[in-house]
Each structure stands twice: as structure tokens, then as C-alpha cells.
Symmetry: C2
Subunit: 356 residues, 2 copies
């Protein structure tokens, strides 16, 4: 498979839906990736089974507030600057790039960078969705080291972090990203292919394309096509009647209330938001919770509406679907389960909560 | 010359006086260096002319708020962790350590680290005094690159900065120091000996010892002995009648007012403070200004009173003496002259201002 003008639109739609409301808009990432494949040619997507065991996989992405990226866009050469530094630190060439986070804008960025560097991207990522913090990746769950990490900005500043664990990396890189103007680019958790096979969410690039093609290709019922592709549950279809949003500690926190219409008339679902949609509650009953993926989509088009774009009056449908199995392990839930976000809830899988 | 129990007390007294009120207390640095030379043996002090031209000189010091260091002291092995990383980045062994800042606590720290590493310290530093910001060093004036810089803390976290100029380094490292708990350790502006010969304030370690020996050895008039050793002007002798201090933007700003006693009765001198004593004014007439060194000393003992220890009622004498000549160049004044600190004053040398 390769990424080119024929499937990047679909991929962008899929990345947005996998973002669980977070990860930022894919509009700029789509434009940048279309320009990159036009300039440098298509980007091969390789499965981890096709690469040699000891080849080096380099996760990468933007760090900072996605909303800033809408105005403070990258030059395009940031990760090109990081690649030789990672190669020097690791003592071997980078064989392929990988999105640290398939959900939202970070799902598209590696395509731009891989096109410029003449590298493939692997059909995998470090989340299978979007999460707000550096260590909330499948590699951390699998025991891969976050260090050395390399960070840069559009000016050419380079910062290297060594001997720093994932949680300190979050503090250090977040603070640097603020100094860099709210947005920077980085690589952490580089690993060999043999490590990546057990430490990543696999197949997520092709999944994003499949989601997007289902949604864009549906003649009558895009939401139905989306639900079928993802085995997703439709939690409610209705109207946004309340959005509360505040920015604390660098994160967007708040809630959104959706009042049912049609067959859902009379029901009300509240979404708890911390950058991503984390918990969906119907009259005190939890319908879905993190790390499962809860996404608000437009009822007409099935395109994702990111948390920062939720507005009163929108006609929306909430879909929820299972996260990558690695998040359902004890270590995965400790890092990104409901309690990791401050909710006093025992995790129950979305398919069990909605088995009726 | 070597540093050992016979001259470290004097050196600490001298470093405090060279601090121009800043750079922090030398009490902990003195205790740590005494312990280090007891454990590892004396530390040789070498002149730059004694070292091979292409040998590597590694400036080092603490970064952060000196007052925090009074409680959050270092483990002692921080710079030992930095040395091999600098050697790897520079591709050659470190031949000697150098204090980035002879004034205050950073004047003593390299002694501790050199003892542990079995390295000499050079008889020079990067300021000849204390200044608040990373790029306010003679190496910056001389065009030496601030990068690569290496920073660490007592936990073993390591951050490397590449391709970053002195002013960005200040922002980056300051922000990291805050994340590290307000105090960290770093090396910037590494250089060869041939570069160091023109890019440093030379002879400042032996000067610090000479100052301390004069003050501690004076039988009757320590302030007189100090003034003679430094060719210093005595601006006023009197009593602290007002101290105003506020912490803004991570720096201590304020002023202190000294009312003359004895032959100075009737005179009042105001000191403008930004971490260091920057300007001394007598009834609208400037008596001394940065980058020349203005230090408040105890009138009885001639020991320096750092800005954070100034108190109402103290009997003090203000002395002022010439800075290293590199600061009097156009580039030096641009970086650390009165206008660099926001004073709308043309620089005039302290010896010219007090020629009468």
C-alpha cells in the first residue's frame, strides 16, 4: 500500500474519528501531506512484519496545543532535522517513521515527513487513538524507554533528553514546547522492529483509511457505515444543548450535553472532556469510558467534531468503539484508564456496557 | 598553585566579594569544597598558558535561584555526569573545568566537581563577577558558541541543547531549571584553550584568593585592605536605612538606601538592584554602574553582604571596582552594560566617575 492523492483524504477523515475528540484538526495535515506526496512522490506503508527485526522505527509527532498549530504551522523540515540526530544517538539508520498518535493531526504529520525523507511509514502507531500526554503510548506500556528523545522547532533549536522516563519527559517537553511558542516536534520511544511488533497499535494507518473510505463512500448513511466499519456502538443521536469548556493546567477540560432526537428523544447524554472525550454518561449510567474511543460525529456526514469545535445546536451522534487491546491490560489501564484521569470508575469495556 | 584547606576559606570570601551582591552565598560551596579536597586531594589551578592549545576547557555551574540552593543542595555527582557527555559531543577529553561565574556560589562549585573528577580548574572564569543570565559571559562577547550545552539535576535527568544561541539558551535552560525544582547544573560555551585565552576573565581564581587573604588577614582595617587589593573606590560607609525587594520574572529587583556615618554623615547612596547591585547613585549623581562591580560589605569585617541578605540597620560600606576589560568593549556593554538592564545611562568607568 502507498499513501497518495487517492487515499489521503480518507486517511484524514479516519484519523479525526480515531482521535476521540482530541489530537487536533486534520485539515492542515491533509493539505501538507497532499503537497508532500505531489512534491516527493507517494509514501509506502509497510507492515512491521515486512521489515527486518533489528531495523529502527522512529515514532514522531507534534507536541503542544493543537489549536496553536492551526496558526503556527511547521516549516516541514523539522523532523528531517531530527532523523540524523536519532540515527547518531541510536547508532543505526532510521528504517521507517511511525505516528506516535494516529488520532488527529499527529496521524497525518509523519506522511509529510516520510515523503521528504524518502522513508516509509509503518502501519501502526503508539496509541490507536489520541491521548494528551507523552507517556500515554503503547510503547510505555510495553516497557520501551522514552529516552533518548529529540525535540526541535521551526527555528532550528534542538533539545535532546537522555535518561529521562516517560513522566518526566512529559514535564520537560511540555515546558520546552511552551518556550518554543506552544508547539514543537519530537521523537521519543524509538525501537527496533521486533520491539515495535508487540509495543504498538498495529494496522492503524490502514484502519484510518478504511474508516475514511467507508464514511466518504457511503451513499445514504455515513454514520451507519462508520459504525459497521468499527463495530462501534451508537450511544445517542441528537443536538448539542450545552458545552462547558475551561483551560486548566494546559489542558481543555469540560463537558458537553447532547439531547436525543428521533428514536433517542427524551434521553440526555453527558460527555466528560479532558482534551479527549473520556466518559459518556446517560442519567448516571456510564455508556463508555476511556481508554475506549468515544467520538462525536456530525449526524449527516459522520465526520468527527473535535472537542474544541463543539457548539450549541450541532446535530451530532456519539459513537464509541473498542481501544487497542494493549490499553485493556493492567499496565495500560494504570496509564490511561479512567482513574488515570481522575474518574473513580472501574473500567468496563464498551461492548460489555452496551451488550443489550 | 592548588586549592586545599589552606586557601579555600579565602577563596570563598573573595568569590562573594566578586559577586557584586549576586551569585549566591558561598557558605555551602565552601563546605562542599573542603569536604571534596579532603576526600579526593587538592585541586590544581592551572593558567591557560600552561595547557595545550587544543585542549578542551569545560565551563560549568549551577543555574536557577541561588536561594533555592541553600535548601536543595546538589548530590555532588551532577557535573561528573555531564563531563563524559561533553566529551562525547566534543569528541575530545575535558582537560580542565572552569567556573562560568566566579562571583558567589558558582565560583566554588567547580572545585568540588574538579576534585571528584581528578581534573584541574583553570585560573579564569566566564564573567569575572556574577551576572544573572546564561549568555552574559565573556565567551558570548568573544563569539564562542553556547551550544552544545548539557544540563542535569540530582535525579539523573539529562538534557542536551544543540544549535541554540545564548539568548535562547537562557530561555530554554531557565525553563528546564524550573521543572527540575528551581536549581540545576549545566555546561555551555565549551572551548579550546586557545579560544579560552581571549574569551575569558583571566586570573580570577587567584584574584579571589588574594582578596580573601587580604580581608581575613587584615589586623585593623579589612575594608582598607580590600580596597587596596582591588584598587576599589569606597563609595560610602554607613547604615542600611531602607531595602525594597520584589521578585518579578524570576529575578530579584529592588533598591537599598545607605545613609552615611562618620566622614560620610549627611550623604545618602541608593543602590539599584537586579539580582546584582547595578547602579549606585548619590543625590542624582551616578557613582558606579554595571558592568563595573559594586559590592556591599560589612564595615567591620569587609565580608560581602549578598543582596538577599541586606537588612535594615546593617553597618555597611559600598565598594566599587573595575570589571574585566572585555565588558568595556562595545559588544560587552551591549550584553551587560547599563542599557542591557534597562537603565538609560551611558557607561562611564568607575575610576573615571570617582577620579576626584
Amino acid at each position: 500500500m502507498q499513501l497518495d492523492g487517492s487515499n489521503l483524504h480518507a486517511m484524514a477523515v479516519g484519523c479525526s474519528i480515531l482521535g476521540a475528540g482530541g489530537g487536533g484538526d486534520t485539515a492542515i495535515g491533509l493539505l501538507a501531506s497532499l503537497q508532500a506526496v505531489e512534491a516527493f512522490g507517494p509514501v509506502p506503508v509497510v507492515d512491521l512484519d515486512e521489515l527486518p527485526d533489528d531495523a529502527l522505527v522512529m515514532p514522531c509527532g507534534g507536541i503542544g496545543a493543537p489549536m496553536i498549530w492551526i496558526e503556527k504551522i511547521d516549516r516541514g523540515d523539522e523532523i528531517a532535522r531530527i532523523i540524523p540526530i536519532v540515527e547518531r544517538l541510536r547508532g543505526k539508520p532510521v528504517a521507517a517513521l511511525m505516528s506516535a498518535e494516529i488520532g488527529g493531526s499527529n496521524g497525518m504529520s509523519p506522511v509529510v515527513w516520510a515523503a521528504g525523507a524518502g522513508l516509509p511509514v509503518v502501519d501502526a502507531d503508539g496509541m490507536g487513538r489520541a491521548f494528551p500526554e507523552v507517556p500515554q503510548v503503547t510503547m510505555e506500556v510495553a516497557g520501551i524507554s522514552a529516552s533518548p528523545a529529540v525535540m526541535t522547532d521551526e527555528r532550528g533549536n534542538v533539545v535532546i533528553f537522555e535518561g529521562i522516563d516517560g513522566h518526566w519527559m512529559e514535564r520537560m517537553e511540555r515546558s520546552m514546547a511552551v518556550e518554543f511558542g506552544g508547539q514543537a516536534y519530537s521523537s521519543e520511544y524509538q525501537m527496533t522492529v521486533v520491539e515495535a511488533r508487540r509495543a504498538t497499535a498495529r494496522g492503524t494507518v490502514s484502519l484510518a483509511i478504511r474508516i475514511g473510505e467507508a464514511v466518504l463512500g457511503a451513499e445514504h448513511d455515513p454514520v451507519g457505515a462508520l459504525a459497521e466499519t468499527l463495530s462501534a456502538r451508537t450511544l445517542i443521536s441528537g443536538k448539542v444543548v450545552d458545552v462547558e469548556r475551561r483551560i486548566t493546567g494546559g489542558f481543555v477540560r469540560g463537558s458537553a450535553t447532547i439531547e436525543g432526537l428521533g428514536i433517542d428523544a427524551g434521553r440526555v447524554v453527558r460527555l466528560e472532556i479532558q482534551n479527549e472525550n473520556l466518559v459518556a454518561i446517560d442519567a448516571g449510567e456510564v455508556l463508555a469510558m476511556v481508554p475506549d474511543i468515544i467520538t462525536v460525529v456530525d449526524t449527516e456526514t459522520a465526520q468527527a467534531i473535535h472537542t474544541e469545535r463543539l457548539r450549541y445546536g450541532q446535530r451530532v451522534t456519539i459513537v464509541a468503539f473498542p481501544c487497542d487491546p494493549i490499553w485493556r491490560t493492567e499496565a495500560g489501564l494504570a496509564l490511561a484508564g479512567p482513574r488515570a484521569f481522575g474518574y473513580d470508575l472501574d473500567y468496563v469495556e464498551v461492548e460489555r456496557l452496551n451488550a443489550g
